[in-house]
Point group: D2
Chain length 309, copies 4
């Protein structure tokens, strides 16, 4: 099933589990799938920045993707295909779609600066992968250094019929959501799905601004799914209560560079993956940092009983 | 009294209050001083990035500084003197020190890349302003794009006897604090004061890593002062409880660009300043954003009674 | 006399002459003025990046500007007023215009990325300095990292009636000139003057693409003036012959960082200025570099007899 | 035969020839090889930035490399293996070495800032590809934005025995060459080969500063080879005469972005390759630009008879 603009809910950014000696841990992929489904995921995104995609061989990338596709069944799997050249992007995009992926995600290369460069890049990317593959724009200036205005995003969507979703992780970005939804109201932008990233740091208010859900990898995906559902159900205070209980840990996990180490450590502690190993280059947690995470986990467990280890 | 390495506690980054028509509001400066002292400030920093320093005329900068110096009495006032050239930096530094400032803060210009460029810049800056002025290194890569390793900071400290403090706002930065304190333990770095910024987003753990306090402008300075004191007193859980209650708002205020508008709005609501006006260019809060802040304030008031408006 | 869109010819970017002990050398300013006028300058630009503007005290900036205004008589003097804040920009702009400057030059701050940020910045700058001051856009991405498309430049010109000139130093930039002149032909852009920088590295072809002249500081301004005149007179081969004779030295001078040291050294050797001293921070020429420059000067003298020392 | 620190002469950066419909043109690869050998090349570098490497499929990359290896016989072929992740870098490096490459070239990823980040990256890269593969450091800050001081380069060389060459294209970079050769004289740096890039823009003086030759793709490789030989033979004036004759065109070709289009166009005009086609994304030459290149070629032919078309 192809990704379309009605996609909503929680699409976790899946980490790639490795064994301590660096092999892909396919058993942990299966565990991860089960846990994500239990948590309420409505889809999943693999081979993202936090999935350590550049550290994988092409056949490993395909194998991991296939396992997620099989595990998620009818639920959509989005595959990150960002690459320094269109040859590699096209090859990966065609391969994963043939294997059953629902769509692909494309981040702009860091050198892009002007509005024309950005819109031109997406036109060329679509030409490269083909107009039949639904794609997601990744808007993540903090890491990618590319800044897209709401008008630029609108132009990309309007010029490329295969664009169905925005992964929004501008920072700050609340007004951008309102601007894009405003474009839809005034008829200048066709409907697209907007899911938000940034580790979830503003998910509470992003939902109120009108996004369709979350696409991020926080180690407690059930919280993300629940906040999305509570907000959709109009239960604002409950959504914030739950979100706030997790915010101290979520903030800790959102640190650039070391964030993935925190996330994998917590996932290992929760039994989602067997090991928190990363392939090189990867930041490791110091003993002090691990103790800090444990302290945060202990505090969290007091507020959210599902968070007890 | 000159700033020295024993400086500790809370040095708020003071905003510059303006009237709605853009004049400096000296009356609000006085109110701000009173509130900061009541909150437990042990010093203050003026003309920082969040103080809208580049929007001030030279005589306005001096007048504001003078008012803070008079108001803070024996408590130290640090003045931001970062400038695109050493002529302006020297002129401002000499002028404020003559008027009674305790020291100056210097941020590296964004073009610096290599370790040698950074250490060379600080040597030249010290030569420009004179070796008799105590100075603070501002380490803020998220905004300034300059990355200083712990070794580079150590070299700056060791090469310049007038360096007495680090304003630490690397992000993430917890391990950097441990590295610097480790240098002091192994004798390779002389004692300096470390105060942390980044809007306070990691103050809870930064204190545990060994910093001396906070230098940031969150709109509830009493919370910052209290977290510093609680942690110094070994009351860890209480420190985190207080910090966590403020984290949803603090996180909201820490958004780049719009953050100062949030901060000034909350300060206006609390009676710290008469108006939340900024000089141009400045981001304004939308009605939606104001409502979000009010919601956060209302929630905060349930956890921290001093936060009631 | 105010700068207008008919400005053409050679506007040298004037260096600021210093004595070896760092004082402004006003006598050399006078010599420089005489030499520029003899070389065929039709105006001059002071306090540019290569004029070491950030190293000057405000009163020094005004004094230098005044001396150039007096020396150039009825010929226009453009003053660089780029600053990190609008307060300083406005103060300098109003002061120099009152003293008789013809217009000001404004470079965008390095943080600007999107088209909207750039056009917004110029709107705010014009609001700050006043709509009565003719201004020049400086388009210099190699150093400033801000990329303006032809459409963005057009928008700035169309939105701000006081914009009369573009200092074009995009790199590469020949097609940009053609695009802008094309906008004028199709009526979507009103006439503006375009002078080119980049040390003159593409002046030969820039003239053929339709610019009005040069605004750059190469140490042989008479070559720049002559190439402009030869090209305007349709004497293409002669223009290239002259240009090519200077290209080895011009290329050497165009090196980032060390370029000003080369330029001042050659100007000192030619008697334009008494000393090649720079204020700190400034790159110095090694003995080897000086020998290389001397070798280039000796070779040049064989092709251009006016270049004999 | 493996690359070693005695490598010298001319290693052209080979473009990848395509047919107008975008297929790799292996016939033109053979022609290119013949022309390079005739021009005096002592080796060749493939899959560099100007070789459009990111636009190639993995099997195409290998096929092109193999053809160059076969064509160059005992002369060394260096292969660019820079990649966003170590998995792809290792896979390509092992594959080309097995096929007979002499060594690989590694550029630092743009995100690197501090000295420690850069040296750490090369340690990890060597660990990834294996310590048995000779490698070349590519030092190209203008495009890569990574700045390596001479001390950082020395540290990389000293820490990694398999580092045998520096591709130097810092800009400006003459003093850097002197600094590195100075390190060798004082015994703090073991011998390495230094070849220079930057389109050859400073080759005349780089040779005098002590480099071993050129690694760049200017469309007249015989000029590069001859300048290297003339300078090695102490025939300085002749070297500069030849170089200066080419400088107007060489400068034109060195424009970022459009440079490869110029280079391929001239190579097509000279019969080195059958078509100047680039794969997307690629800049095309306007009619005006082509006419400018033709004009430069005609002028060049007057000074260098081998340049006649």
């Amino acid at each position: 099933m192809l990704l379309d603009p009605t996609a909503a809910g929680l699409f976790p950014i899946a980490p790639t589990p490795f064994t301590p000696d660096g092999a892909v841990d396919h058993g942990s992929v299966d565990t991860l799938i089960t846990r994500y489904l239990t948590a309420g995921a409505t889809g999943v995104t693999v081979l993202g920045i936090m999935g350590e995609a550049p550290k994988l061989e092409p056949d490993e990338s395909l194998a991991i993707t296939a396992r997620f596709i099989d595990g998620f069944g009818k639920l959509p799997v989005i595959v990150g295909v960002s690459a320094p050249g269109f040859a590699a992007m096209r090859a990966l995009a065609r391969a994963v779609m043939e294997r059953g992926a629902a769509g692909v995600m494309i981040a702009p290369p860091p050198a892009l600066r002007t509005d024309d460069q950005i819109t031109g890049y997406y036109r060329q990317a679509v030409e490269a992968i083909g107009t039949d593959i639904p794609f997601v724009i990744q808007d993540y200036p903090l890491t990618l250094t590319v800044q897209m205005t709401p008008k630029v995003i609108r132009q990309i969507v309007q010029e490329n019929a295969s664009c169905v979703m925005l992964k929004h992780e501008d920072w700050p970005g609340l007004e951008k959501i309102s601007a894009l939804r405003g474009f839809q109201k005034d008829g200048s932008l066709r409907p697209i799905s907007i899911l938000t990233g940034n580790g979830g740091l503003f998910l509470d208010f992003e939902m109120e601004r009108g996004v369709d859900g979350a696409m991020t990898g926080y180690a407690f995906p059930e919280m993300l799914a629940d906040v999305v559902q509570l907000q959709k159900g109009g239960r604002r205070d409950e959504a914030h209560d739950l979100f706030d209980a997790h915010l101290p840990l979520l903030r800790y996990e959102q640190q650039q560079g070391v964030g993935l180490a925190v996330r994998k450590y917590v996932m290992m502690r929760r039994g989602f993956i067997a090991s928190d190993a990363q392939r090189k280059p990867g930041a490791a947690l110091s003993a002090t940092a691990k103790a800090e995470v444990e302290y945060l986990l202990a505090r969290l467990a007091k507020h959210d009983e599902r968070a007890r280890l």
